[in-house]
């Protein structure tokens, strides 16, 4: 429990530092914000001054940071510089699509990655070779390329799936997000399948497994209880980093399929230099990334009792 609290504290510290980095980064950006706000129109100095006052641009840097941080803590992420919309509302309206997409891809990675890896490890022959080859090549396929190929084959040519939009309602959304989720999960599946196969293979050769087989323990029992369960530790690490990475790589896919998630919002905001939105999304992503990594670390303790016992000492 202290471990969890410590980790949460570390996460909070990281968030404060990264919020500072993100905020000062936007502060350092070339071109003054009020120039951006007036969009190149010539305005009188009085108007400029009123804009500066409205956005608090005359305050010292640290005070502005402090005000911004306090607002963020109260759930107020500011207003979009471009559309004057409330950023919190904007992000909240976009978040479900991204979460759905990431969760969908995470399930695909877990089921297909671990499944293919275990299958490849337990039965040799052509299937194993295929999985090994596929996973060696698969990690090299950029998600956006996979997206385009899937769109071309299943969207345009076969017409099985829609190639844009994210759909309404659960079933429709599932149907709309199938291709994006597959494209997003593709490199993850390859990496996880490969690690799973190696881990299971290593475990199969370990002494306790050979011993169990020698003692006549049923094969299936040895496989599930002794081999696969023990080999899941390295798999969890890779699974975790891949799933945490999904949120960040989702915006490429969202952009390719023109989905209305926070990723495409981020890309559009960067292109249009809407810094309020960029700041907000960056913070949310750092938070989500940190939370997922924390959950993965806690999962260790669930999977492996040894970790649970030594955690108190190992906790930093």
């Amino acid at each position: 429990m202290t471990y969890v609290l410590k980790r949460l504290g570390a996460l909070a510290a990281v968030l404060v530092v990264s919020s500072f980095i993100v905020f000062s980064g936007m502060y350092l950006a070339p071109g003054s914000p009020e120039q951006f706000l007036v969009q190149g129109r010539t305005v009188s100095p009085e108007v400029l001054a009123s804009i500066r006052a409205q956005y608090g641009l005359d305050d010292p840097f640290l005070i502005r940071y402090w005000n911004w941080l306090m607002d963020v803590l109260q759930g107020d992420l500011g207003r979009s510089l471009l559309t004057q919309q409330d950023v919190s509302a904007l992000v909240a309206s976009r978040l479900p699509t991204t979460l759905f997409l990431a969760a969908f891809a995470a399930i695909l990675i877990t089921v297909l990655g671990v499944g293919l890896g275990v299958l490849a490890a337990t039965r040799s022959g052509a299937f194993e070779k295929l999985v090994v080859f596929g996973s060696n090549l698969g990690f090299a396929v950029p998600t956006f390329f996979a997206a385009l190929v899937l769109m071309f084959v299943f969207g345009s040519n076969l017409g099985w799936f829609p190639v844009s939009g994210s759909g309404e309602g659960f079933a429709d959304r599932l149907w709309h997000l199938t291709l994006p989720a597959i494209a997003l999960a593709f490199p993850g599946i390859a990496v996880v399948a490969r690690i799973t196969r190696t881990a299971v293979r290593e475990e199969q050769g370990s002494e306790h497994v050979i011993m169990a087989i020698a003692r006549g323990v049923p094969k299936q029992f040895v496989l599930w209880r002794h081999t696969i369960r023990n080999s899941m530790l390295p798999v969890t690490t890779v699974l975790g980093t891949n799933i945490a990475g999904l949120l960040a790589s989702a915006f490429v896919i969202e952009y390719a399929f023109t989905l209305d998630g926070i990723g495409s919002l981020l890309v559009n905001s960067v292109q249009k230099k809407d810094f309020a939105v960029v700041q907000a999304i960056a913070l949310i992503m750092v938070l989500a990334f940190g939370l997922i990594n924390l959950i993965v670390d806690l999962l260790y303790a669930v999977i492996d009792p040894r970790v649970r016992l030594s955690k108190g000492a190992a906790a930093r």
Partner: protein
């Protein structure tokens, strides 16, 4: 398999007949340091050698682009739009009538320069940070480790996008930001290896002789972490290429009309929907093959499982 071989060759000893010395030799034959090309070839294996060949080919393509590209990569023609592959245009032409093969050959330049910047900057930053942390230890080590922990909290792509948001889209900006994002991963590996080296008696004895910390680090510790640095660079190259291509795809990296593989995949998206698959597919395949080659070589060099990495 070995059994059959032994039957056919009656002169060969079975392991039972070997003397202890021979058995030891056999057990440790992989530990004997063989230097140079033969070692490299052995580590790589046949697939690795092919991968190395592919890498060499891509690099040659980038260097010799002006000589071997059949057409000007920038010059299109309105009459020759979306031509299918033919003898005149081996990979067809794109939406502006430019020769796709020529653009892929020229694109090798931008597509290789970006990742090269990334791995050089990463290697420099990671090595400097890791060796400084290891040499001084204590507070310095703790400080650097905290810094790296904070960097870990940023997904690489997010860092690159933020940099682009601040400094405007360019290949250099994206590459340096990506390099900073890669640094903690490399630094952690180098640090752990260097730490082992730091605690060896010879380092302490060198210190007693009054050799400065900088000299010991550069002359003695650095050569011993060389393998880790080089392996990291090779593996990072592939990841960097994918991520830079993704940035170009989003319009945040290389800007048109510069030929670049990621950008070409993006440019071909509209044509792909209309059935003109050549540009996107060929450019995408160029990325896949190059990245796979770098990944395989890096993995074989490192001799360990590829670790999962966040994008």
């Amino acid at each position: 398999m070995t059994q059959q071989k032994m039957k056919r060759d009656p002169g060969a000893n079975t392991s039972a007949q070997d003397t202890v010395a021979v058995q030891l030799l056999r057990k440790h034959r992989n530990d004997v340091p063989v230097s140079g090309w033969r070692l490299l070839a052995k580590r790589l294996g046949p697939v690795g050698l092919i991968s190395l060949g592919i890498i060499a080919l891509v690099v040659l393509m980038a260097i010799l682009a002006p000589v071997i590209a059949p057409y000007d990569p920038y010059e299109g023609s309105v009459t020759a739009r979306h031509e299918a592959w033919s003898l005149a245009h081996l990979m067809g032409t794109d939406q502006s009538g430019r020769d796709i093969l020529s653009r892929i050959i020229w694109g090798a330049r931008t597509s290789l320069i970006g990742p090269t910047i990334v791995i050089l900057v990463t290697a420099f930053l990671a090595t400097t940070l890791a060796l400084t942390a290891v040499w001084f230890g204590g507070r310095v080590d703790a400080l650097i480790s905290r810094m790296l922990d904070i960097l870990f909290a940023f997904p690489n792509m997010l860092l690159a996008i933020l940099a682009v948001a601040i400094f405007g889209p360019s290949l250099l900006t994206a590459s340096i930001a990506l390099a900073i994002g890669f640094t903690p991963y490399s630094a952690r590996v180098i640090r752990s290896v260097a730490l082992r080296e730091r605690n060896l008696p010879y380092v302490a004895s060198a210190q007693l002789q009054g050799i400065s910390g900088f000299v010991i680090t550069v002359r003695h510790i650095l050569p011993n972490v060389r393998t880790q640095i080089l392996t990291g660079m090779t593996i990072n190259f592939g990841y960097a290429m994918i991520e830079l291509a993704a940035l170009s795809f989003l319009g945040l990296g290389v800007q048109p009309p510069t030929p670049d593989w990621g950008l070409m995949v993006s440019n071909g998206q509209a044509s792909l929907q209309q059935g003109y698959w050549e540009q996107s597919i060929f450019a995408g395949l160029a990325i896949v093959i190059t990245v796979a080659a770098f990944g395989y070589v890096g993995e074989q060099l490192g001799g360990r499982r590829a670790s999962g990495r966040t994008r």
